[in-house]
């Protein structure tokens, strides 16, 4: 597997980076995260409509760009780098799942900025993989879904929800329209203010069956890979900004970056980030070309990349010093994002336990 970027992927990366540098700088991100919907609406329309980035890996026949998740991953890294507020990751996960399970008929209008989200955790559940709590019951030609899902990222804005539930004893993945009858959504505030979440209550909500346990697992795994790719983007940007600070800031009459203790720590972080980036890239290629490996590679990528971001964000704060403790500097945004990625989608201990059989234990 060649994990270097293709010419097209590099062009895609450069285009998205250039756009987000202009449209999603720190001020824009802060404006978006303080706005009612938590996103920059014109930018979201541009990303989804003009550029079609949420449909990147959807087949052309289904209205997408016909690329693969490897290309989506390139965009996810840039979204992570900018801390782009809005449901990009959630939506591409839903698109990938529906594409993979042949249900692109369920895709909402991605080109019009439609939003998808994945619901997979009950309130109070801290197990991993999460306990599946919603119950689906067959009702003539359709299903009805009942249960509660906690802190679903982008669940409030979603036009289409994928919901992990139990049907006849088996894990089943259902699709539910955001405006379905019997669905109530209540916003929950997150420490990472670049994200929005909602508690969802389903009371006999009409649902469409997408697939069985393999669909639930696939959705969970793609979400993990998406989180990993975003985390790598954030980590890389946080490190770049930290290195810039070390170059620019002087203390005791010399640039901070000339102090070897700090240079060595930056070098270790660089190693951490690039190693994690390799794993994220590998995982994205696995989604695209070798999904059999996904049950191992997805938790592995989430584990490694969340930890890398956690390490980088923590050191970014320390290496910036006092300014990083202030609201006005972006360091706390990276740091809060790191906590979000680390504590959702399985803790490091849980993910390692999930990987134990693959490791021979």
């Amino acid at each position: 597997m060649d994990l270097t970027l293709t010419e097209e992927q590099r062009d895609l990366r450069d285009a998205v980076r250039s756009l987000l540098t202009k449209q999603a700088d720190s001020a824009a991100v802060r404006a978006a995260m303080a706005s009612p919907t938590g996103r920059d609406e014109p930018l979201w329309r541009q990303l989804t409509g003009e550029l079609g980035l949420t449909g990147l890996s959807v087949p052309e026949a289904s209205g997408g760009a016909g690329a693969t998740f490897a290309e989506v991953a390139v965009v996810l890294e840039e979204a992570g780098a900018a801390l782009l507020p809005g449901p990009y990751a959630s939506t591409v996960v839903v698109a990938e799942v529906l594409t993979r399970f042949g249900r692109t008929d369920l895709l909402p209008a991605l080109g019009d900025g439609a939003v998808g989200a994945l619901a997979q955790r009950e309130p109070g559940d801290r197990s991993w993989p999460p306990r599946v709590g919603c119950v689906g019951s067959r009702n003539a030609c359709s299903w009805l879904l009942t249960g509660v899902q906690a802190a679903v990222v982008d669940g409030g804005a979603a036009d289409l929800l994928l919901v992990a539930a139990v049907d006849g004893g088996a894990e089943t993945l259902f699709a539910v329209a955001g405006n379905a009858a019997g669905l109530s959504r209540a916003a929950v505030p997150l420490m990472d203010q670049t994200r929005r979440a909602a508690d969802l209550r389903f009371e006999r909500v009409p649902a469409v069956r997408v697939g069985g346990p393999d669909a639930v697992a696939f959705a969970r795994d793609v979400a993990a890979v998406a989180a990993a790719c975003e985390a790598v983007g954030t980590a890389r940007r946080a490190l770049e900004r930290t290195v810039e600070h070390l170059r620019a800031r002087t203390q005791f009459g010399r640039p901070l970056g000339s102090f070897q203790a700090l240079r060595h720590r930056a070098a270790d972080l660089f190693t951490t980030v690039e190693a994690a980036a390799s794993t994220a890239r590998y995982a994205a290629c696995v989604v695209a070309t070798a999904p059999d490996e996904l049950p191992v590679v997805a938790p592995l990528a989430k584990l490694v990349c969340a930890q890398a971001l956690t390490d980088v964000a923590a050191e970014a704060v320390q290496l910036h010093g006092g300014i990083a403790i202030t609201w006005e500097h972006d360091a706390h945004l990276w740091f809060k994002r790191a906590a979000h990625v680390q504590h959702t989608g399985g803790s490091p201990e849980q993910l390692r336990r999930q990987l134990a059989p693959a490791a021979g234990l």
């Binding site: 802190a151 203390q251 005791f252 070897q260 403790i325 504590h343 803790s347």
Partner: protein, 388 residues
Amino acid sequence: MTAAEAAFRAEIRDWLETELSGDFAALRGSGGPGREHEDLEERAAWERRLGEAGWIGVGWPDSRYGKALDLQQQVVFHEEYARAAAPGRLGHIGEQLLVPTLLAHGTEEQKARFVPGVASGEVMWCQGYSEPDAGSDLANVGTRAVLDGDRWVVTGQKIWTSLAHIADWCFVIARTEPGSQRHAGLSFLLVPMDQPGVTVRPIVQLTGTSEFNEVFFDDAVAAAGDVVGEAGAGWRVAMSLLGFERGVSTLGQQIGFTRELEAITVRARENGAADDPVLADRIVSAWVDLQVMRHTALRTLGGDAAREAPWAANVSKLLWANWHRRLGELAMAVEGPAAVVTSGLPYELTDDQRLYLFTRADTIYGGSNEVQRNVLAERHLGLPRDRA
């Protein structure tokens, strides 16, 4: 424990129990690092109550101004204060930094003028050391003061000034000899905050709350005599003050840490986190390291500590700051996926989140980890100075 010690402990405990049951009951657990913005008026009243009862400055070595307790009694006082979850002090900068400095370097007239206000809990102080361009380099002082007749005229900016918004006075390191460099030509000035030349701007922190400030001196004025030590020799005064930080209050701090860790441990038992053996291992590690800090505090407060452990301040700071930062990480891990949800709008953080976020400051302020390591390497390991 001797009978006298037990009686003394009972006295303090009773006093705190009585006082914190009445009007001040709501103040238990209020204030302190990360919560410095809470209940300012009530805590100011508490300071005055402490002062009335003579519980301010218990460790000052001059019995004219306080109880001058012996070391063991001070330990007991701080332990009981922490155990009662009595409110975070507003007056600690005056009590623990300014007064010891005055007692060491001030004139009798200065002591008589300034110490009683601190002792009564009426007068609040803040510390004007750090500057925006200096970072950890305290000698890089840009604030200037010029003697103009009977007064100093002060111009410059300080930053990371705790409690400046409630302080009556600020002790300021300023450059009083134009053209002087680094440690030379600095003076330690006492500047009143309530004057047109002083502006305080709160710094909003990553928690969304404020407890540090920027302080702007714009032709602010101090009396000519309000310089501690000799004019131009302020560096030595400023540095001796750093030695007063912490010390015996460490043991009180550790009781606060114990309470925080206990809450996390209880939570872990309740929510199932403790059933994860790897997480349980981390919890025990935190507990172990807390015991080690206690042993280290006992050793560095012992009879011959000055000779045996001259490195105590640096080692203790590194230990507690890193421990506390890890505790914040542990609190979040114990909480699990719910850790990412705040307790309310607009940005009401949970205790875990506040601990997690605010402890990042522990390794930066009050001498960053990097500064502590530099000092240990140079002074206590005798390693050559990094080339400047």
